[in-house]
């Protein structure tokens, strides 16, 4: 029965390691912010996305947790841009293998940035997927950055 239950859900889960930090696991920590948007959500659809998830937390605490998860997911990427500093992952962009969701080809993108030296040392991870191309993905980042800009 366990096998049936677990296997029954395996298709829904994309098998991503970063799921381990999402879903409210660390949100009792005030330094953590997490956003999850998916499905028939107007905002998500307006940006050509199916799912969007972000996680930000204190660099010292969460970089050691996030880095291995992001690298594990990025290991099978089909496109990447990765930078290390002082032996630690500083920036990563991964274009993950295409998946088929509801008969549609879905592109998946994963970003990671560790900034331990800033005024507010933080590490951030962004994941989103949809039918959007890599160029569109860059545009989405800049669009989302200009949200509610004063």
């Amino acid at each position: 029965m366990l096998t049936i239950l677990v296997c029954g859900n395996a298709s829904a889960q994309t098998g991503m390691h970063i799921n381990n930090v999402l879903g409210g696991k660390y949100v009792s920590d005030p330094s953590v912010t997490e956003v999850i948007m998916s499905g028939e959500q107007k905002f998500v659809k307006a940006h050509g996305l199916s799912n969007l998830a972000t996680f930000r937390g204190d660099s010292e605490t969460y970089a050691p947790i996030l880095q291995p998860l992001v690298l594990a997911d990025g290991a099978k990427s089909i496109g990447r841009n990765v930078r290390y500093k002082d032996g630690k992952l500083q920036y990563a962009f991964f274009m993950l293998p295409v998946t088929i969701v509801n008969g549609k080809k879905t592109n998946r993108y994963l970003y990671y940035l560790n900034n331990p030296d800033g005024n507010k040392p933080s590490v951030m991870m962004i994941y989103f997927d949809g039918t959007l191309s890599r160029t569109d993905a860059e545009a989405v980042i800049s669009k989302l950055s200009s949200l509610n800009e004063n």
Partner: protein, 173 residues
């Protein structure tokens, strides 16, 4: 008369035990009938080769006390099995919920709408507040990425300068 009645009763009992015994070996007894056979074999004062054979082959105990303790043990085993089965079901449901929850954190089916954020240890469901929070996080992200790229470019320039200096120490002849 009394002896006759007892004998008659014994015959009925023996006949019933034999009939039940035959059906026991045919595996056609219901649970209630099997329980009745156990009871009768345990309680009977009769002596008959058919009863001995049944006792030997079925492994039913003749001692009623032992049988009742066996029944209690069996009851306990059933109870433990029931509790274990319930635990498996509860654990499975828990696992199912966890897996679904984790899965839906990123890969929610298209017909499931999720819009939730957490900040400062609080859960936020107001869409405007979520979008504001998302905007702030993304701005910080792009600012830090830019800073990281500038720092990377500076490092590359430093490396280029070092290479230039090394090459200048060994001018071409």
């Amino acid at each position: 008369m009394l002896n006759y009645l007892l004998m008659d009763k014994d015959l009925d009992e023996l006949s019933l035990i034999i009939r039940l015994g035959e059906r026991y070996f045919d595996c056609s007894l219901s649970d209630a009938e099997e329980e009745l056979l156990r009871d009768m074999l345990g309680r009977t004062r009769l002596s008959h080769p058919a009863i001995d054979e049944l006792l030997a082959l079925t492994g039913f105990r003749t001692n009623v006390g032992l049988r009742s303790s066996e029944r209690r043990l069996k009851g306990r085993v059933r109870l433990v099995s029931g509790v274990a089965a319930a635990c498996v079901v509860i654990f499975s449901l828990g696992l199912y919920t966890t897996v679904t929850r984790r899965a839906s954190a990123i890969s929610a089916p298209a017909d499931v709408t999720t819009c939730v954020a957490y900040a400062g240890g609080k859960r936020i469901t107001d869409q405007e507040a979520i979008i504001r929070l998302l905007g702030e996080d993304m701005r910080e992200f792009t600012r830090d990425v830019r800073a990281s790229e500038e720092s990377f470019s500076e490092e590359l320039s430093d490396v280029a300068r070092i290479i230039d200096n090394i090459e200048n120490e060994y001018p071409e002849i």
